[in-house]
Symmetry: C2
């Protein structure tokens, strides 16, 4: 019910950011890969082992200062079911360490099938009367192109459990405007229409900070739209990608926040994961470098928005 | 390059249908579940084993008469990474048996991340110089809300390998119109706009039957829009869900085809998987019942469209 737990994590750490865990092999220090390949060969199994070791190192280094992680499903699926097992293990490890986990999977489908995705990611699966967590994450990104049918099965879980969703509204990529910026015959853009749907989908799941369990993905690369949407979607918490490697800076993300410094969480993936490469430090220091970058990002953003109330 | 291989499968079998493999435990005969639970317990592992045995039975019974299968990713993810392993094994088994495999996963993301999904599902993954197939399917369903950036990485694989994609255009669910039927300020609907994008995305991948490697998902539950889209999207092959359990009949799907009986493949999932329940036959006959229903469906549809040329 709502994003209260995420918000409390953000307030406690005075840090409105989330570390993206998009572990391509290229981002992982050689010594970790060598160990994994020695045990499993240059196989999907070997890659999955390297990903897990890298993620655990990052989580250990970040869990006391960063409130949340966002694993991106694509980078795990790229390494087959073995990679997907690493996604499961990463989610469990981060939650054990007290982090809020947002699985960035942009899932979407119609009613009965969306119900299966909802159970898979934020709910529980029934196996002939025995309950199991398939992925057991805290929040899931979803795509609303199919309308309410594709969102409703998620709301049923959000309404009864401490879970949330983020619906794609205005994405951070250059071509996001091809459809999202088009204007409908009532003079409203597609992205704003989707944003309005988030407000209505979330209406029954309001938390104590005034935000529902239905959030929106709004890119840092479009600060003007970010400000527009913040001013009209009063109860919709924003997940903001596009900071750092994609070009958005602290000034660009500032409009995402409300007057209390709440209402948004800013993602950085490559900036944090690859800090060791950018710094040019020893590969063994990858996690310490990630921590340094996470602190720098926190300070840069809170420098704009002040204390989070 | 194009859907030629799928089309040749359809012509050879004179059957423009695809069997959806959406294996919920409820659909699986008790004796299969009992065996799987005896070996693995009522666990995700046990469920995954039951799914695989059920799918293999269906594939064995269908592979000489049905050209393609469409596993729906949600029903595998619902059983964790173990379920996702069953998805991998199902894809490999169906391809071994000569079937064309469409993974219905509706994936979507921005450029670099979409590249990871593209490699995962229809391409190959590089593991420090060693190539591996992560999922190795023939075609993938995708969602185009993010625009061209989210489609381009797939086209690079479609252009060089024998692979295809189906983009969501007009989905079969009741609320699909909330966004898809809205009219943009140039008086064109959102679904038609998405359809037009499919034509332009596919322009460089034309096959010998006049269809590109960029197909569209168009629901059987909206026969009028199906006919409209068939008449304007000349080079876009349609994947048509919504036949059977969702209410579409042979008459409703007939407008999806061109004058040669090509241009579309009609999906049935529950109709085929649960034929044994509907017939009330012995559970051990589930695969034979699926075959009977697949033949009935083939005959019903080809009764409307005639010989596939």
């Amino acid at each position: 019910m709502s994003f209260d737990r995420l918000i409390e994590n953000i307030r406690a750490k005075q840090n409105p950011t989330v570390a993206g865990l998009d572990p391509k092999l290229d981002f992982i220090p050689e010594y970790i890969k060598e160990e994994a390949f020695a045990a499993h060969g240059k196989t999907l199994e070997g890659a999955a082992a390297a990903l897990l070791a890298f993620n655990k190192g990052l989580i250990d280094a970040l869990c006391d200062i960063v409130p949340a992680v966002k694993p991106q499903a694509a980078y795990y699926e790229m390494y087959g079911w073995q990679g997907v097992r690493t996604l499961c293990e990463t989610i469990a490890y981060a939650r054990e360490k007290g982090m809020f986990v947002i699985t960035d999977a942009k899932r979407n489908d119609i009613g009965t099938t969306m119900e299966a995705y909802a159970k898979a990611h934020i709910g529980t699966t029934d196996i002939d009367g025995v309950k199991a967590d398939a992925f057991g994450t805290d929040a899931l990104t979803v795509n609303g192109y199919l309308g309410t049918d594709g969102i409703k099965p998620l709301l049923e879980i959000c309404n009864t459990q401490d879970k949330g969703i983020f619906v794609l509204v205005k994405t951070s990529n250059p071509s996001s405007g091809e459809l999202q910026d088009r204007i409908l015959d009532d003079s409203v853009t597609v992205y704003r229409t989707m944003g309005n749907m988030c407000e209505s989908w979330g209406a029954d799941t309001m938390g104590k900070y005034g935000y529902s369990s239905v959030g929106a993905v709004v890119g840092a690369t479009y600060p003007e739209q970010l400000g527009e949407l913040r001013s009209v979607l009063k109860h919709t918490f924003f997940l903001v990608p596009g900071y750092g490697a994609q070009g958005g800076g602290a000034k660009d993300v500032a409009p995402a926040f409300d007057e209390n410094g709440l209402g948004a969480i800013i993602n950085s993936s490559r900036g944090i994961m690859c800090a060791w490469k950018k710094e040019g430090c020893a590969p063994e220091e990858f996690a310490a470098a990630a921590r340094r970058e996470a602190l720098r990002m926190r300070d840069e953003i809170t420098g704009y928005i002040g204390t989070i109330k």
